[in-house]
Each structure stands twice: as structure tokens, then as C-alpha cells.
């Protein structure tokens, strides 16, 4: 019996030639990632009680992104604590005000195929889009990782999701993952990995693959992997990674707990409705729902390709007077690229507000939280009650195209009528 990608990575980091789903293994962590809100200020006391010695200052990456820019004194205190901690520990890699951690660690080359990455955030699984085994852990568990570089993991079974066919006009990675979550259910992949494969996945850019992996946790999954290929190698080379990469793949005879076959060619734009990510419907069923705010951003869908799609739709148009449209590029690098391409001008002229890269309103932290009775159409990853502010608000999730089209009409809108046939 062969091994899945997950089994191969966990075999390597546990120093074994073969592991199988269900095995409990002690693993050596390649990258331990923390952000400001669930990082140093929560782990420091326990870390110091246990000696306060980092296992490797090159392998601990800290990103301040949730409290940036601070909206309250408490957030400013957390940000300062995080910055001072990184300095005192002499960390090689500390980033702040650069954007959400999951995007920042991808752009800076920390995420590589075959690596084991643990982070104090549930969307750490996004790194699976480049072929890393990446998953979220709690702050207490991170204390052990910081001290020893190790922890235990149960080798997960893998659900293989095969997306065949060509993705149609106006349909994007976000629509694929929402449909996948609808199918699997919000807890259907609990304790398991998801491996995305098939023609439609191979066709996706790196930007779009990251959308799928980012949201694997919304089906309960431990991680969401995509087989790395030359696109991944080229991307990492462009980021200055010159080491030989382990383009890991599942064996032909690997064992999967379940294989789902999906046809991308018949998929329509999808929307996740309040208050669960698996409450997914075709856009036609929710079209016309009035919104108060539109949010284009987040680690899920704030990358340059997302902003290009929005600009294509919004160029020369005005957003509805009844709403505000917040644009949050997923990193400073993306912000600069969008600026260079004139995208920020197009969006601003259409009436959008461009905010700085951060976790912002996606998690209800800063810069655009919603009040009671308000409705948001968002390109982010979670629509739980209270997620973006008031528990009496409502969050709908969709692709950047659906979000941009909704901004024009002030109500949930099928983006296809605003797209020229050449866009995809």
C-alpha cells in the first residue's frame, strides 16, 4: 500500500520510512508560526515557566496582523508586547503591518512543499496550497513546540476531492471550495486531510489554489493539500527560494477514506449564507438580497488576481450609494502590485475604500466591523454569527467577482453579467 501526501510528510518529519492513517507520531516542526492575537502575549508566561529557550530562532515566525493598526489601547498593548517579544527572542523572522500571516509566510518563502507548518490560527492550513502539511494549534500547544520543536500528531485519513473539467466563465476557486464544503459538510472532514486534485485544480494559479486550502478547515479538515508542480516551483523561485524542492505527491496505490468526483464545468457562482459555511446555494437563489457592506479582502481572497477581477468588473462603474465597499489587499506586496497596475485607482474611482492589509473586519477586530441588522457580502472565509461584529449581523460569502458585482447593485448579484468572455 502506498502513502498519501499527508502520510509521506508525516513520515519524513517523524523520521520513519512509512506511517499510516491512525498512527500517533512525534514530529519535528519545520515552521512554527504565531500571530499577535494568539501568540506571544498568551504563550509567554508558560514559555518562561518552562525555561524560555526557543528550539530554533530561524524556525519560529511571528506575524502581527490581527491588531494592525490597533483600534484600541488593548490591541496596541498586544502589538507592542509581540514586537518586544520577537526582538528579545532575537527572532530571524518577524513581520508586522505586512498583511495576514498566512499570506505573509507564503510570500516570504517560509511555505515549501513537504514542510510541516504549525500555527496558532485555524487557517494555517492555507499553506497546503503549496504542498505543505499545515494545521492550526492552540497557544498552549505552541509553548511545547517553541521549547522542543516537536509535538504529537495523529496521521489523518485523506478525503480526495477530484475536480474535473474546465472551470466556466465567472466561476472561481472560491465557488469550487464553497461547493466542496457544501458537499462534505462543515464537520465532514473532521480529523481528516483533504487533497484537492484533478484537471480543474491543475489549471488554477497559485493565488487560487491557496483559496481552496485556506478553507479546508471550514469542512473541519486538519489540512488541505494540493500536489505541488512546476507552478509552485516557479512561484517559490520568484520569491528567492533556490533550494531543491520536494514535489511530493500521493502514491497511485495510496488509500483514501473517500474520493469525491466533482465536475467544475457545470458549476455556477456559489454563496455561503448565514450562519454556517456549508449553508451554500447557487447565487441565483440568493440574488437580490440587499447588503450594507461589501468586503473584498482577507487571506482567503485578497490576492492580486482577486483585485484584478474586481477591477475588471468595477472599471468605469460606481458602487451602489446604499453601501460601502471595503477593499483589503492581503499583503503589502499585493497592495504595491495593485497600485502599480492602476487597480487601486479603478477601485477608488468606483467608490471603494482601500484599507491597509490586515485581518481587519474579517474576524471582527478592526476597520469595518458591522452593527446589528447589517448584512455583508464578503470574500473572506467564515460567516459565523458575530464573526464580523454584531451577533445580530449577517455575513454572506462569495468569490471576489460576486462581491464586486454585489457592490455595484447593492444587493447580491450574479457576477457573470458584468464579465467579458475573455476574463478567465
Amino acid at each position: 500500500m502506498g502513502m498519501t501526501m499527508s502520510e509521506k510528510i508525516l513520515a519524513r518529519v517523524s523520521g520513519q520510512s512509512k506511517v499510516s492513517a491512525g498512527d500517533i507520531v512525534w514530529v519535528k516542526v519545520d515552521i512554527a508560526m504565531m500571530h499577535d492575537l494568539l501568540g506571544p502575549w498568551l504563550v509567554d508566561a508558560g514559555f518562561r515557566r518552562l525555561g524560555g529557550q526557543l528550539f530554533d530562532k530561524d524556525k519560529v515566525v511571528v506575524v502581527s496582523d490581527h491588531c494592525t493598526p490597533p483600534a484600541t489601547v488593548q490591541q496596541a498593548d498586544i502589538l507592542k508586547f509581540t514586537r518586544d517579544w520577537a526582538r528579545n527572542q532575537d527572532l530571524t523572522y518577524y513581520y508586522e503591518f505586512e498583511g495576514p500571516c498566512h499570506q505573509v509566510i507564503v510570500e516570504h518563502g517560509h511555505v515549501r512543499p513537504g514542510r510541516l507548518i504549525l500555527g496558532t490560527d485555524s487557517h494555517t492550513c492555507m499553506a497546503g496550497g503549496l504542498g505543505a502539511f499545515a494545521t492550526g494549534i492552540g497557544s498552549t500547544e505552541m509553548i511545547g513546540v517553541l521549547l522542543t520543536g516537536e509535538t504529537w500528531l495523529k496521521v489523518p485519513e485523506t478525503i480526495k476531492v477530484v475536480w474535473e473539467g474546465k472551470i466556466p466563465h465567472g466561476v472561481y476557486a472560491k465557488d469550487l471550495i464553497l461547493e466542496t464544503i457544501k458537499d462534505i459538510g462543515h464537520a465532514g472532514a473532521t480529523y481528516q486531510s483533504i487533497e484537492f486534485s484533478g484537471e480543474a485544480i491543475k489549471d488554477l494559479s497559485i493565488d487560487e489554489r491557496l483559496v481552496l486550502s485556506n478553507m479546508a478547515v471550514e469542512a473541519g479538515a486538519k489540512t488541505g493539500l494540493i500536489e505541488p508542480d512546476e507552478k509552485v516551483a516557479n512561484y517559490l523561485r520568484s520569491k528567492g527560494v533556490d533550494e531543491e524542492l520536494d514535489l511530493i505527491r500521493s502514491d497511485e496505490n495510496a488509500s483514501f477514506s473517500r474520493v469525491l468526483y466533482k465536475d467544475a464545468s457545470i458549476l455556477e457562482p456559489q454563496v455561503a449564507c448565514p450562519h454556517e459555511v456549508d449553508n451554500v446555494h447557487s447565487v441565483s437563489l440568493v440574488e437580490g438580497k440587499p447588503v450594507d457592506q461589501v468586503y473584498l479582502g482577507s487571506c482567503t481572497n485578497g490576492r492580486i488576481s482577486d483585485l484584478r477581477i474586481a477591477a475588471e468588473i468595477l472599471k468605469g462603474k460606481k458602487i451602489s450609494k446604499n453601501i460601502r465597499c471595503l477593499v483589503v489587499p492581503a499583503s503589502q506586496q499585493i497592495w504595491m502590485q495593485a497600485n502599480k497596475e492602476g487597480i487601486l485607482d479603478i477601485l477608488t474611482e468606483a467608490g471603494c475604500i482601500v484599507n491597509m492589509p490586515s485581518c481587519g473586519a474579517c474576524g471582527g477586530f478592526t476597520s469595518g466591523v458591522i452593527g446589528a441588522g447589517e448584512v455583508v457580502m464578503s470574500s473572506s472565509n467564515r460567516n459565523f454569527r458575530g464573526r464580523m461584529g454584531s451577533p445580530k449581523g449577517e455575513v454572506y460569502l462569495g468569490s471576489p467577482a460576486t462581491v464586486a458585482a454585489t457592490a455595484i447593485e447593492g444587493k447580491i448579484t450574479d457576477p457573470r453579467k458584468y464579465l467579458s468572455m475573455e476574463v478567465r
Binding site: L38, T140, G364, F365
Partner: protein
Amino acid sequence: MSFIIRGRVWKYGDNINTDIISPGQYMSLPVEKQAEHAMEAIDSTFSQKIKAGDILVAGSNFGSGSSRETAQMVLKHHKIGAIVATSFARIFYRNSINVGLPVVEIDTSVIQEGDDLEIDLLVGKVINHSQGTEYKGTKLPEHLIEMVKMGGLEPYLAKKLNIS
């Protein structure tokens, strides 16, 4: 951490996620302030009525969403005795064990609000004194029993790293 827990049941439904237990907008506040807002999206009386030793009972997928341990912190602040659910989200379950918050998986459909439950954590047995019934729940995985007996990950690490 005691392995026999007995307390009064507060019953909730499915998919009690971490944004409900620990809303993002309060996460930068001190834990006692955060705790005032625990569960308020679905039960505005939670933080007033909950008493030390009470047992939270819920349906499937308890603790889904974020890896935030503030969810455990606010429930521990209210001195919740244990959480009994039909199923837990993965990261929440793991974090609970790491911080010594007892979690047990059983089919909770017949348990009623106000029931008097007794849990034997190590063998995964739950006695419902109100209904005179007994349920067999999931047992802790063998490799975690030693850690739970020691009170969570930090004491376990202290021993492993030989720190007194």
C-alpha cells in the same frame, strides 16, 4: 484536575463555534471581561447563570472554527466542570486536553437541561442521575491519559524537560 465530575447540565445545540464562545471583538480584553461575552450570541444570560462545576452539553461539532484558546480560557474562567458533546471540532478538542478542560463525546440527544450528570473521565462513562441512565462515551486516547492525569500539557512538558 479531577477525573470524576458531577454537575448541572446547561444544554445547547449543534455547531457552537469559537466565535460564539469567544467573540473576536473582545479577544484583546482581559479574560474576565471576555468571559462576560461568552456565548452571548445565542444566550445572553450565559455568563450570569453559569456556576462553578456546571456541565455544558451540546450537539455535534462543538468548538468549530478558530484555534483561539480564549474559548477554553473563558469557559475555565466560569469554572465549567466539563463539556459533553455528540462531537467536537478537532482543534478545540485538542486544546481542551492541553489546558485541562474535560471533554467527553457521547450522543447527547436524550440529555435534558437541568439534568444531574456524573462523568468518569478516564473510562469515558457518564451517569445521568436525573434519568437513572448511564452512557458509554469515548475514552481518552491512551497516549494522552498520562498528560491529562498530570493536569495538561504544561505540567507534562515540565516533567519531560525536567523543570521543577
